[in-house]
Amino acid sequence: MMDNSEQTAFIELENVVFRRGPRTILDDFSLSIPQGKVVAIMGPSGVGKSTVLKLITGQLKPASGRVIVNGQRVDVMSDRQLNQYRKTLGVMLQNSALFTDLSVYENVALPVREHTGLTETIIRRLVLTKLHAVGLRGALDLYPRELSGGMARRVALARALVLDPALVLYDEPFTGLDPIAVATVNQLIGHVNRALSLTSVLVTHNVEQINQLADLAVILVEGKVAASGSPEQLIEDQSPAVRQFMNGLPDGPVPFHYPARDLSEDLLA
């Protein structure tokens, strides 16, 4: 909103408050993600990174504040509008979520079958291209139970990209991958992002991959954005929270513990 130079915001979270029972997960949280960029969201486990993604997909609604994607208010959409919106979205969930009773091929083909009237020949070409890109064209007849965790993530990636979405959300795409697969997935995310000029949001703890891939990185701590900027800026940043996170230090302003009573109180109770 502020600067309309080349970076129009594609996703805008404005003063979002999100609660789970008595706990406030996101507290007056604002985040702006420019169109066409790869944005990394970092932060300690349980801070609410997946929650942010679920607000963007409309799976969760904020208690107050606004979620705007591509000029549309996601937080007030009807079910029908949400369905329309989600057709333009690619999502890779934290645990792959492949359909267990469909083969790899059918998993990737499902969104195409559902939302386009393409012929079987074209569907096949489309699906094979995507599977080839993640290096799993040979695995098309396998079932999810026959895949390793890393293979399943790559199939999920192919499935998220099969309809060439305008926005792709990745929840921890590198977890459980071997170094070669990490590099492959990394390249792939960067490549599709540039080739299709789509916007990518990824949640990850992998600082090295962020340096290579992200245009912008955001660190969440205790319901707020603690720091944001290009990876280079964050590496230079001297604030304690950023230092702790980028260097993986156990102690510092970022709490390791889920909110709790004093330990001695619990032990003596």
Binding site: V91, L93, N95, F99, T100
Partner: protein, 255 residues
């Protein structure tokens, strides 16, 4: 999760019945009768049918033999042993066929439907469908529901057939009852309308009830291993109780 007071439990039960009813409306509202939907229904029907076939046919055969044995032992004292076929058929068509098949079906097919849907929920497959703008109720719940509703009456018919066969083998092969007498007594006593159709109506109602409970338990399960375990047990417990209660109500209405 401890039981809570009786008021609490009643409240919860009433709420669940309400939610179940709403869920049924949601399912039925998505009935399209498109080729693709029916293709999926047929696929589920095949799974559900083949899964339940062995247990239902084996049980039916032995139930038939026991009925034949008990019936013969009683009837022979009155010199009416040739009526054993008729007695067995009446018991089966009116009561035991629909009820036993429904109970076995809840334990075999109902639990696996509940577990399957619950597991899909726990592994975020249902979320993934929603995120692809695919309706999980239409895609996952509806085909299993319709398939289960269709399967139970068919399985009941098979149960009845096998049980009659069991009693026939006992009466004719074992006690050497005249087989012409066995069949003709059965034919003259059993009334298609009063006996067979009323049993069929029961099995249709039981099918709807068990199908609904299974998909509801699976769909509303807590998305964890424990949640799925609770959903499957609840399917058997609630399903069996409701079948037995409804059996009484339906018998009273149909007689």
């Amino acid at each position: 999760m401890t039981g809570g007071g009786i008021i609490d439990q009643t409240n919860r039960a009433l709420r669940d019945i309400g939610l179940c009813g709403l869920f049924l409306l949601q399912i039925v509202g998505r009935l399209r009768l498109s080729t693709r939907q029916w293709g999926e229904v047929m696929r589920q029907l095949y799974f559900i049918g083949t899964r339940s076939l062995v247990i239902i046919l084996t049980s039916a055969f032995f139930v038939g033999m026991v009925l034949g044995l008990q019936g013969y032992n009683t009837l022979v004292q009155f010199g009416a042993s040739e009526s054993v076929g008729a007695v067995v058929a009446l018991t089966l068509f009116r009561e035991l066929g629909p009820v036993l098949t429904a109970l076995l079906f809840a334990g075999r097919a109902g639990t696996s439907i509940a577990a399957e849907i619950g597991l899909m929920k726990a592994t975020e497959q249902l979320d993934a469908l929603e995120l692809m703008a695919i309706d999980p109720i239409e895609r996952v719940v509806l085909p299993r529901f319709i398939a289960a509703v269709l399967a139970l009456p068919m399985l009941t018919a098979l149960f009845n057939m096998l049980a009659v066969l069991g009693s026939y083998l006992f009466a004719v092969e074992w006690t050497h009852l005249d087989q012409g007498l066995f069949w003709s007594r059965m034919q003259s006593v059993v009334d298609f309308q009063a006996d067979y159709v009323s049993g069929f109506i029961k099995s249709v109602v039981f099918g709807i009830v068990i199908a609904l409970i299974s998909v509801f338990q699976g769909y509303t399960a807590e998305p964890t291993g424990r949640g799925v375990a609770i959903a499957t047990t609840q399917t058997v417990i609630v399903g069996s109780i409701i079948v037995l209660v409804l059996d009484f109500v339906l018998t009273a209405l149909l007689i």
